[in-house]
């Protein structure tokens, strides 16, 4: 009996040893160090955003208090009320700016997901003349910032008569290359047999794309959505939209926000509105988005 127990114990020890050997050297000190690093830099990362959020709900007298309070003592919506009052003062109703941003963001994002996926599918799954060149061009385009092409873009947009229409913002955004790149990389893992068997069943290529491929790449949709969303949501229209009634929210909010430190509360309210939407979206869809980036690699 005892011998049996002893044997079992030794077996257990051996197992534990093997288990421990799985991962090398993880000392207590390095764990403490790890936690310390994460806490310090996590605080650095989060503090400005927390202060933005809390300032948005602070009354004026608390805004300039030292040390700055993380949690306002008297939570107030005054800043948001001031903001809407300032907005009401302009001759374009606030809702109009809001609608413009929603319109641009929605159309641009949906258009991008659809059109970029349509192009990503043949490039990811088929071999045909020109495919390598097209993909190489997209990879090169990731290597320079969009500012490089801003001037010719303006000339092209104005020459096709799109200046001062929402399409001036939407069309270039739809052609964004990072979304196409990620979608193509993600589609590569779809097994070819699946597509072949659908073909044998008599489905056309377009049907396969819409009914088989698109549902399979849902995680990548979310990624394309957040990448484009964060770009379009904060667009101020720049030189491409000059009519006041076409200007997006970000432009209007910035007009309100520019000013001295007395407007700090309003600025915080504006920033809060602009940041909370993409953040919530990311928090909800995080795991799917990270999944997409598994296939982001370059060769």
């Amino acid at each position: 009996m005892i011998l049996k127990l002893k044997n079992r114990w030794q077996e257990f020890l051996l197992k534990r040893k093997i288990k421990k050997e799985h991962r090398v050297n993880r000392s207590k000190y390095s764990n403490i160090f790890l936690i310390l690093v994460l806490v310090i830099f996590g605080a650095f990362s989060a503090y400005p955003l927390i202060m933005t959020a809390s300032n948005a709900f602070k009354p004026l007298d608390e805004l300039f208090l030292f040390p700055p309070r993380i949690f306002p003592r008297n939570v107030t919506f005054d800043n948001f009320r001031d903001l809407s009052e300032l907005m009401a003062g302009s001759w374009i109703p606030f809702s109009r700016y809001f609608f413009n941003t929603i319109f641009i963001t929605l159309l641009g994002t949906v258009g991008h997901v659809l059109i970029a996926s349509m192009a990503a599918y043949p490039i990811a799954k088929y071999d045909f003349p020109g495919k390598k060149l097209l993909f190489a061009l997209v990879v090169y385009s990731l290597m320079f910032a969009p500012q490089v092409t801003a001037i010719p873009n303006y000339i092209i947009i104005s020459s096709i008569g799109l200046i001062d229409t929402p399409l001036a913002i939407i069309l270039p955004a739809i052609a964004s290359s990072i979304g196409f790149y990620l979608m193509k990389q993600f589609m590569e893992q779809i097994p070819m047999e699946l597509i072949e068997s659908a073909k044998i069943d008599g489905a056309s290529e377009y049907r396969i794309f819409f009914t088989i491929v698109m549902p399979l790449v849902k995680p990548a949709w979310l990624t394309l959505v957040i990448l484009l969303f964060q770009r379009l949501w904060v667009t101020d229209g720049g030189a491409l939209l000059f009519s006041e009634e076409l200007k997006p929210l970000s432009y209007a909010l910035r007009q309100v926000a520019t000013g001295s430190i007395e407007r700090s509360g309003t600025v915080a309210a504006v920033s809060f509105i602009m940041m909370i939407v993409p953040i919530i979206f990311f928090v909800i869809s995080q795991s799917k988005i990270v999944e997409t980036f598994t296939h982001s690699g370059m060769k």
Binding site: E21, R23, V24, N25, S30, V37, L38, F41, S45, P48, L49, M51, T52, F64, F66, I115, M118, A119, Y121, P122, I123, F128, P129, Y140, L142, M143, F144, A145, Q147, V148, T149, I151, P152, N153, I156, L171, P172, A175, S177, F180, S204, Y206, I226, Q230, A239, S250, R254, I261, V270, S271, M274, M275, F282, Q286, V290, E291, T294, S296, G297, M298
Partner: protein, 309 residues
């Protein structure tokens, strides 16, 4: 002989045409995207190059002036040299630091339990998607006693008088670097997290048997080589953004900033493109920036391919 070659050529053509016909649907599907992509990315690069050799102000037709814009840019434009210097400083600091930070944090987070890992991912990533929330740094680095940085430093006795963080040339670039780093854990950070989660765990076991002694060896010999594709992708993202710093500089340091201390190639481009309307000159700036970005990317790619070899 020639006839044989000819028919071979011909049949090659035929094969190509056959392939094109066979994949007709493919071309149809990719057409909308690539028409837009060519119109707003590929063609503009060449247009920019062409316009850079001209004098063009939108109202009159462009006048060809050869290399004048480039000569003026490098020999006669002191502000551009400042902008170039600042851009390179910013890129050399924020590029590698943000790249390493993105990897380091992704690596540390990877050790945590899933829920905590998700939370830390959110905390590190959201500054980059929070729109213009970076304006809070205007309050943090405000030049009066109410600025958080000044108030804390004065309270703890490091300072007697408030520092004009955003107006004093001594501090402007460092402040810009701090804010830019705060914003920098973006797409590449997510790519690294995903890459780390996907490293095959049995590789570590095999590595331990093969005599890998500590975490660092594990990192260098197993983790980094298996993640090389993500590392390359992340590098491209970080290099491109670190060379294009402008928006934060304009919003925090002003435009133009004190003694052009916050001036970068992109702000110089904005200056000539949207304010002075000297589009030829602005295009020359854009072309120089284009080659700097592509050059930096190709160089770093070459280096990264050697990781873990």
């Amino acid at each position: 002989m020639e006839a044989v070659l000819e028919t071979k050529k011909l049949s090659k053509w035929k094969v190509t045409i056959k392939k094109i016909k066979e994949h007709k649907h493919g071309y149809v599907l990719l057409a909308p995207y690539f028409i837009l992509f060519f119109a707003f990315t590929v063609v503009p690069v060449f247009m920019s190059l062409g316009i850079s050799f001209s004098y063009y102000n939108i109202l009159e037709t462009p006048k060809f002036i050869g290399f004048s814009n480039y000569l003026k840019l490098f020999l006669d434009d002191e502000v551009f040299i400042i902008a170039l210097k600042n851009t390179l400083i910013l890129a050399i600091v924020t590029g590698p630091v943000s790249y390493l930070a993105a990897f380091l944090f992704a690596w540390l987070i990877n050790e945590l339990k899933p829920k905590l890992r998700a939370l830390m991912t959110v905390i590190f990533y959201i500054p980059s998607i929070s729109g213009n929330a970076f304006l809070i740094w205007l309050i943090i680095f405000s030049g009066d006693m109410h600025g958080y940085a000044n108030a804390f430093l004065m309270k703890w006795g490091f300072l007697d008088n408030p520092i004009l963080w955003l107006k004093d040339p001594k501090y402007m670039l460092p402040v810009l670097i701090i804010v830019q780093l705060w914003l920098s854990l973006g797409v590449s950070f997510l790519a690294f997290i995903a890459g780390l989660q996907n490293v095959d765990k049995t590789l570590y076991e095999a590595g331990a048997i093969d005599g890998i002694k500590n975490r660092w060896q594990e990192l260098w010999y197993i983790t980094l080589p298996t993640m090389r594709p993500q590392l390359l992708f992340g590098a491209v993202m970080q290099i491109t953004t670190s060379l294009a710093i402008a928006e934060v500089s304009i919003q925090l340091l002003g435009f133009p900033s004190t003694q052009y201390e916050g001036h970068t190639i992109v702000t110089h481009l904005i200056d000539y493109g949207t304010i002075r309307f000297d589009l030829g000159y602005a295009s020359a700036i854009a072309t120089v920036l284009f080659f700097i970005m592509i050059g930096a990317n190709l160089l770093v790619r070459k280096i990264l391919r050697k990781v873990g070899e």
